[in-house]
Amino acid sequence: MTSTALPIAARAPRGLRSVAWIGIALGLVGLWIALPPISVRSWVWSFVLCLIAIMLGIGVLIRGERRFGSFAIASGVLGFGVGYLATLSGLGKLETVVVWSALIASTLRFATPLIFAAIGGVFSERSGVTNIGLEGMMLIGAFFGILGADKLGTWWLGLLTAIVAGGLTALLHAVLSIQLRADQIIGGTAINFLALGLTGYLYVDIYGAQGTPNDIPGIPSVHIGFLDRFSFLDVVLGDLNLMIWVALILIPLSWIFLFKTPLGLRIRAVGEHPRAADTVGLSVYRIRYSAVVLSGMLAACGGAYLSIGFLDSFNENMTAGRGFIALAAVIFGNWRPFGAAAACVLFGFSSALAQRLPEYSGSAAVLFQALPYVLTLIAVAGVVGRSIPPAAVGRPYRKS
């Protein structure tokens, strides 16, 4: 009946979206031409193209099409940033950085932990529980994954340990936010602190100054032999970690689960209107508990991939805000598995770029480490208000 949102005079016309698409395309072209194989050697071209992209994006955004407007702005920022840096560095260096096949493979590597956590976030939020503790659950997964693999001797026991630990952490969040009706943001923050303290404490206690040993059994990669013949595909897909494939399969699976099964319908119902679900005899608490625990398990998988699939070591606070990026991906992806995964791939790409750039160019490249965070900020700013969250998310349910 009442309104807190700023008044929007009218629904955004369709045409705006096409304009935004042009902006997105221009930004990507600006990025593309500065990189091999084209490698335009003046930054002006990228600049002009990306400036137009950003201006189109802003124009579209203020006319009400926020989602695609922000895509166009992000594309412009990304395009010009990368383009400018590319023209600064030598051609030879550039060709070492931008090997598209390697870049795509690297994007998948960076996107995978995000995808696990984001899918987990989709489940939790769809059931009506805000999960800002994804970060902590990932960190728990990362530590217990490596601990389990080290002490129990196999990677899959390590992964299992991570899943159990992540599930237990999520259970704590569930008790806080469902049973005790604590503020879910505060509860999640507590989870993040606790995870940071607990993993740091145990890490120092168990591994001390030496750090995690080098001979920990890691999650194996899947070598696809017949791809040897296609050099591009071989680099991209030929030797990916098992967890990357699991993540890719998880996306459609979770979509089917959420939208094509009775249980998925119930999860969504509980997140939209818990009392309605209660009055038809569903247990709101049980469904929310399951969804939150599941989200913790998935986030822990993402963390375990980081420690025993990707880096083969553990550092304190090694998740570095990835849980929050995953949460942003959930919002950006409109609480849908495919949307969230697509956002993760975008963030993964920026991380992959940021990772590869500093090795070959000057000190300014360090700044590119901030790229995923800047993109997340733009994404969150641009998308909210146009995407519709589950109606009851963040609200504790009180049985009458």
């Binding site: 009946m1 503020d183 943001i185 923050t189 602190f193 606790l194 404490y201 145990l202 909210v384």
Partner: protein, 405 residues
């Protein structure tokens, strides 16, 4: 039947996707809890957190947690308050106490940075980024302008730090005010952006990196004139600087703004009920921005004071390990967002951090590296028990039943 947990049909949806956030539930509960328990609830919360932390100590190391806590107590210099501690022991205690108060100064300010936004219904977990940007500007100004009048130099550097923190937090405030982006996500992202900006500025080859030491990723030292005078203890051995009074002033300003100004009235009204505030003619977005900016100014000053008071330089590693602002969250929550509460909670955590610092804790009693993580754990537990205040309130009701009043 309670319809409170349900949005009425057609109610506006919170666009951020993270739910109603802290404003409805926490602020109401604080109000009730503060009246119900006064000091008792936060004290119980802290005791619970320390008890659980002690359990972790026993389980993992088998050591006596009480001995550990006692060592931390002495490491923090709290024994200086005991009149029977005399002689060299007293000198050491005084030194430790000074260190504790130096950290308390920072914690008061970062705590206020969280508390002020909280009163407007915003959860500012971006104190870290605001602290870093404040410190960056302070170190830049402090290491330039050699020969400037010391008073002007210090005020200039601190004000620049405050302004910078305010602007950094203001980004999140504007995003919240205009498009409704949830401040939790945006401030976390701003933290990481600030960290990488710091890494760039002070990294090897960066614009603010040291002139003389080419391969050390650290800034120039600030000039003598920009250092804060020490009023207790030895300036050479890091005595207590006058930034301590800035923290006290911060507490007074915080209280005055909230209880004696129209700005505070507006901020609180928005925090309790943004819809009623809007109906009352209060500009809600403007208050979101102002609350974030003022919060950021507190955190920015904290960063500046640390640079001008005792760190004197900023390096990439200090930037990355600047987690002091996160402790501010626990300080504000434990202090129930009141000025006095923040002061006491800051002292508690200041003591905890000093007492577990490597040089203060006897490794035979407890391994210092472990202890600093124990601090993190206790901090998390405090936030946990504040969030799950139901547990604390239940304990309180049990205690009341035993002693009928």
């Amino acid at each position: 039947m309670s319809d409170l947990d349900q949005p009425p049909a057609g109610a506006p949806q919170d666009p951020s996707g993270l739910g109603p956030g802290v404003r409805q539930s926490m602020l109401e509960r604080y109000d009730v809890a503060a009246k119900a328990g006064g000091l008792l609830a936060p004290v119980l919360t802290a005791l619970l957190a320390f008890a659980v932390g002690g359990l972790v100590v026993i389980i993992t190391t088998g050591k006596n947690p009480l001995a550990t806590y006692r060592a931390i107590f002495e490491g923090a210099g709290f024994n200086w308050l005991l009149p029977w501690v005399q002689g060299t022991e007293r000198q050491a205690a005084a030194f430790n106490m000074q260190q504790t108060l130096i950290i308390t100064t920072t914690l008061v300010l970062t705590g206020l940075a969280v508390a002020f936004a909280f009163r407007c219904g915003l959860f500012n977990i971006g104190g870290q980024g605001q602290y870093i940007t404040g410190a960056i500007f302070a170190v830049w100004i402090g290491s330039s302008f050699e020969g400037l009048n010391p008073f002007i130099h210090v005020v200039f550097a601190a004000a620049a730090g405050a302004l910078c923190g305010a602007l950094w937090a203001g980004i999140a405030g504007i995003l919240k005010a205009t498009v409704g982006a949830h401040e939790v996500i945006s401030t976390i992202m701003l933290n990481w952006i600030a960290i990488w900006i710091g890494a760039f500025l002070f990294g090897v080859g960066g614009p603010l990196q040291n002139d003389r030491q080419e391969f050390v990723p650290v800034s120039n030292d600030i000039v003598e004139g920009a250092k804060l005078p020490v009023f207790w203890g030895d300036p050479v051995f890091q005595g207590l600087h006058i930034g301590f009074f800035v923290a006290i002033a911060g507490l007074v300003i915080y209280w005055l703004i909230l209880s004696r100004t129209t700005l505070g009235y507006g901020v609180k009204a928005v925090g309790f009920n943004p819809e009623a505030a809007r109906y009352g003619g209060i500009n809600v977005p403007r208050n979101y921005f102002l609350a974030m900016a003022i919060s950021g100014a507190f955190a920015g000053v904290a960063g500046a004071i640390d640079i001008l008071g005792w760190q004197f330089r900023l390096g990439t590693d200090t930037v990355q390990q600047a987690t002091i602002a996160f402790v501010g969250i626990a300080v504000a929550l434990l202090g129930r967002n009141t000025a006095i509460g923040v002061a006491l909670a800051a002292l508690l955590f200041g003591g905890l951090l000093t007492g577990t610092a490597t040089r203060n804790l006897d490794p035979e009693v407890f391994q210092p590296e472990l202890a600093s993580n124990l601090t993190l754990l206790i901090q998390g537990l405090v936030v946990l028990f504040v969030g799950a205040d139901v547990i604390v309130l239940w304990l309180m009701s049990r205690m009341r039943r035993k002693r009928p009043a």
